[in-house]
């Protein structure tokens, strides 16, 4: 039954056991998430992890096969997309090519039968917010990628939706523009205060924009936390790898110590890291930038350099341990192939996870 779009705001958005199974593939597997009013949530994960599916389910473009979505105490997963009243920014922008910028932005208001005068006022306000007043009467085909993206954002927010959904909106822009637009999106979010769910596969975007990040993998939530939480304390190997912990060393466990730390050894390697495991072998995750070549310290890895890349302010080195595991590290001074280096790292920068392979 069409009841029209939801208006007004909400306190809690709850995803409860959200599942979507279609054609033998489980895209979402029991997703549980609670979002508070005004939060900026990033859904982060590699391709195929289910983040876009989750967004489409929230928008109503895909129905759930299990679980439910509640807006306060109202169940919304039974509503069709035109009844939900959320704003959505698509990856391909999906601007209506035959309508001017002004008409595109005003489309949602037209659907809600807002008066002409009110529409004009609100469209002008939206144009000001995305700084496109000069282009109001152009067609989308006459705009650049960045401008089209801003029109897409304006179109989504002008209806004052309780929730704004963004599906990898920056992925089609070049690097410089992406950084500029990130600042814009943060500014707009601060100005409007609308709850936003932002899908991305770019770790940097998530870290800079989100209040909380949700990492997804294979349709399941791996970790939910603030950017600092995820950066410093990834919950498992998948999350760690995604957050830039590029090194994964498979080592033997020597013994767990009090305080949640574990000692690991390997040929030419003696490491103490944060994390408790029950298996006899474990994986140590370390960021390349946390490895320091040549410094003193008990935690050390002896490795032989295999290659070096010049990256401007430092060198990115690739090396192998004595049992041929690859390591990536950074060095301020020039390094040569076949050089032997001793890489040290502070204990709290080493995350230990169980090694399920052996």
């Amino acid at each position: 039954m069409a009841t029209g779009p939801i208006d007004g705001n909400f306190d809690i958005l709850k995803l409860d056991g959200v599942t979507r199974r279609f054609a033998g593939i489980t895209a979402l597997d029991g997703l549980d998430l609670t979002i508070k009013r005004g939060e900026f949530i990033a859904l982060l994960g590699p391709s195929g992890c289910g983040k876009s599916t989750a967004l489409n389910c929230l928008a109503g473009l895909l129905p759930l096969t299990g679980g439910g979505i509640w807006l306060d105490d109202r169940r919304i997963d039974v509503l069709r997309p035109e009844q939900r009243g959320f704003g959505m920014v698509f990856q391909s922008y999906a601007l209506f090519p035959h309508m001017t910028v002004r008409k595109n932005i005003g489309f949602g208001l037209m659907m809600r039968k807002v008066s002409k005068a009110e529409t004009e006022r609100r469209v002008a306000e939206a144009l000001r917010m995305v700084r496109l007043e000069a282009h109001a009467d152009k067609l989308p085909g006459q705009l650049s990628g960045g401008q089209q993206q801003r029109v897409a954002i304006a179109r989504a927010i002008v209806v004052q939706p309780p929730l704004v959904l963004m599906d990898e909106p920056l992925s089609n822009l070049d690097a410089k523009l992406r950084l500029e637009m990130r600042v814009e999106i943060r500014r707009i979010h601060k100005e409007l205060g609308r709850s936003t769910i932002y899908v991305t596969h770019d770790q940097d975007e998530a870290l800079s924009l989100a209040d909380r990040i949700v990492v997804l993998h294979d349709g399941k939530v791996q970790q939910v936390g603030t950017p600092e939480d995820l950066y410093a304390r990834p919950a498992n190997l998948e999350v760690a790898r995604f957050m830039g912990y590029q090194n994964s060393l498979s080592l033997s466990v020597v013994g767990a110590q009090v305080g949640g730390e574990t000692r690991l050894t390997g040929p030419g390697i003696a490491l103490q890291g944060v994390g408790q495991v029950t298996t006899s072998r474990a994986i140590a995750s370390v960021r390349p930038e946390d490895l320091v070549a040549g410094a003193e310290g008990a935690n050390a890895i002896e490795a032989r350099v295999t290659g070096a890349e010049y990256a401007g302010r430092e060198f990115v080195g690739t090396a192998v341990t004595q049992d041929n595991q690859p390591i990536i590290f950074r060095s301020p001074r020039r390094i040569q192939p076949d050089e032997l280096v001793r890489l040290s790292v502070p204990t709290e920068r080493v995350r230990v996870f169980a090694d399920s392979v052996r």
């Binding site: 039954m1 069409a2 009841t3 279609f22 895909l62 129905p63 096969t65 109202r74 169940r75 069709r80």
Partner: protein, 285 residues
């Protein structure tokens, strides 16, 4: 809020009136298809009936009408003529059209728009408008009434058709493949033989099949230019139907069935290789 149900396709079930509309549309489609099938079937049934008047089905069944039709309409000769005409039209239109499509797809040159317009015109001008003067001219040079005249006339709309069908096929082939072949040392002939022909082959086959299917049914041009011994099957059918009063209807329907079968036979073969949408060769604006 009503409890929503999902369709088998995993989508939301559409609102009520949308579903009513969909049912209406599908009934219309099926009505159309059934009626057309019934038309074809009634022709076929009649051709196999002994006598049929005033009842649902004929009184008895026989195949004698096919034999009488074979003699009456000289079907053996007509089929041979049709085969010759269609084969020649397919061959010549491909030989003329494919290179032209290649040149148009690969090069921007002065006069290109005029040439494109020129090639598209036969599709837009009524067949009779150019057919009657063309037939007059062909008779003037003694080609009228011969099989050559028929072939020439039928080529006029098919050459542009081949160009229109082939153009997207050629545009799909990455131009850099030819450059890569040249960089590897291939001359023009080698590029043609080893790169272009294999890649164009499916497109050429598609175009040939489409021309074939269309040519079997092309009536007006053959009608204007054919003589008594250069009639194709469809023209024979028309001529027979036109003077239908004096002969048994059943043998006429037998002729019609022979025509239907030839047409459908090639259509089924064509559909295996070709997307039906290409049959209408969109004129790009």
């Amino acid at each position: 809020m009503s409890a929503v149900t999902l369709t088998r396709g995993g989508e939301f079930r559409a609102p009520f009136w949308n579903r009513v509309w969909t049912v209406l549309l599908w009934s219309l489609v099926w009505l159309f298809i059934l009626n057309v099938a019934a038309v074809a079937a009634s022709v076929a049934v009649d051709s196999l009936g002994t006598r049929w008047f005033g009842t649902w089905l004929p009184e008895g069944f026989t195949t004698k009408w096919y034999f009488s039709a074979w003699d009456e309409f000289q079907l053996g000769d007509v089929l041979i003529v049709t085969a010759k005409v269609v084969a020649s039209v397919v061959f010549v239109s491909v030989v003329l059209g494919v290179p032209a499509a290649y040149a148009l797809a690969r090069r921007d040159f002065a006069g290109k728009r005029t040439i494109l317009l020129l090639l598209v015109l036969p599709v837009l001008v009524p067949t009779i408008t150019y057919g009657v003067p063309l037939a007059t001219l062909l008779y003037r040079v003694n080609l009228g009434g011969t099989i050559w005249g028929v072939i020439c006339a039928n080529l006029v709309p098919t050459v542009p058709f081949v160009v229109l069908v082939m153009t997207p096929f050629i545009e799909q082939i990455d131009q850099r493949l030819e450059s890569a072949a040249r960089v590897c040392g291939a001359g023009t002939w080698a590029v043609f033989r080893h790169v272009l022909v294999p890649l164009l082959a499916p497109g050429i086959m598609a175009a040939s099949l489409l021309v074939l299917v269309r040519s079997i049914g092309m009536f007006e041009l053959t009608f204007l230019t054919a003589g008594p011994d250069s009639q194709t099957l469809v023209v024979s059918l028309y001529a027979a139907a036109f003077s239908a009063g004096i002969r048994a209807n059943q043998s006429l329907d037998a002729l019609a069935v022979v025509y239907m079968v030839s047409s459908l036979f090639w259509l089924i073969i064509a559909l295996r290789f070709v997307n039906p949408v290409q049959l209408v060769a969109r004129v790009k604006d």
